[in-house]
């Protein structure tokens, strides 16, 4: 079985750093991912029984090792888009700039209230996404601004503690990839990147270290595919 049959269109449970070894050089059209931020995040901290456990590999900076692989996997003139917070941005930027040309940082203005230090800090109601170019990846849509207003996923609908809305991933895919492009997300989580690929006609490879989330991702994708087929 070759790597394409093995990976494309499947959620593979496992450590992405190991799995990526089985993908040859210059074979991926884009990487879109939301790695663990290395902050050992515990969602719903105030709640007696938090809805989600802590994330695997969120207590270290192992994402930097994978960034070093991104350059090898990507084709020329393509991008890696990596989400991060304003507290991580500096470290992710300095790691990515070793291998890539960073042409933009998208500000995802998600709005809504916010927790944190109520007396001494403003609400951090945005996240950032570094657009790291290998070569010169052209934008496909019209040239737009870098501050994107997209509402966050309603907490009651969340199946993953750091879930991104499908819409913002679709917008990234439509700006930086063509139809049928092969998109990798090594930190798939609940499968948003794969769902966004299905919705926009891209092929995808998903990796997720947590078997429980890998299963949830598969369910989410299956649901999307089923829904999609209803309308064919």
């Amino acid at each position: 079985m070759n790597w394409q049959e093995l990976f494309i269109g499947h959620v593979t449970a496992g450590d992405c750093l190991q799995l990526m070894r089985d993908i040859p050089d210059s074979s991926i059209d884009a990487i879109v991912t939301d790695p663990p931020y290395g902050i050992n995040y515990q969602s719903h901290k105030r709640t007696a029984s938090p809805m989600f456990d802590r994330l695997q590999n969120d207590d270290n900076d192992s994402r930097f090792e994978t960034y070093a692989q991104f350059n090898r996997l990507l084709k020329d003139n393509s991008v890696a888009v990596c989400f991060c917070s304003f507290k991580n941005y500096a470290y992710d930027y300095i790691e990515l700039i070793k291998y890539f040309d960073i042409k933009n940082t998208i500000i995802w203005h998600k709005g809504g209230g916010g927790i944190g230090d109520l007396k001494h800090s403003l609400v951090t109601d945005y996240e950032m996404a570094i657009v790291a170019h290998k070569g010169n990846c052209p934008i496909r849509g019209k040239r737009e601004g870098s501050v994107w207003e997209v509402g966050k996923v309603f907490a009651g609908d969340m199946v993953h503690p750091t879930e991104k809305p499908t819409g913002i991933i679709m917008r990234i895919l439509e700006q930086f990839t063509d139809r049928d492009a092969l998109v990798l997300d090594p930190y798939l989580g609940s499968g948003t990147t794969a769902v966004a690929c299905e919705k926009t006609g891209r092929r995808w490879i998903g990796m997720e270290i947590d078997e429980q989330y890998a299963r949830i991702a598969q369910e989410q994708i299956a649901r999307e595919v089923a829904q999609g087929k209803l309308f064919v």
Copy 2:
């Protein structure tokens, strides 16, 4: 003449790194500044006769040396707010985090078009402002988000190539300082910080290495003070 008589309410022309030596420890309530980004920026490059010359000290990273002094000058429980671009942010953050607790990064969404790499990059229509705390500086206004929509200064009204709107500086002052606070801007430029202080009842110290801009700043402040008095 003591340092207060020397500096407060005056624009001092000179190198801030030298001038700051004459200000004692823990005597400043806030620093709000927009340092040269180290990019040797030339505004209106397409124009036959650009309106502004290049900025002094914009061809190096001397701002980092001044950041090291900020901690000494600030009182406990106060902030330094430093503007930067998404390309500088990582380096400014890593410098400031040595001395400060960074609790927020404000996104100034300024809107407008944008030049640059039209085919491969989105429009960068925002700048960032790092809010670096010495201790715990309380917010004074209501707790708001971090993405601030403020229009930029109309090009025809600009007296400095990287001029910030007075409104955004006022908003920073009102969030992080009390009335009568003493505010330092070591890179005063055309005097926006001082004007914002006058408008909001803060005392100020302004330093500017370029004598021409120091003079322009004085004019801008004088105009504001005169206008203010008309309405008393």
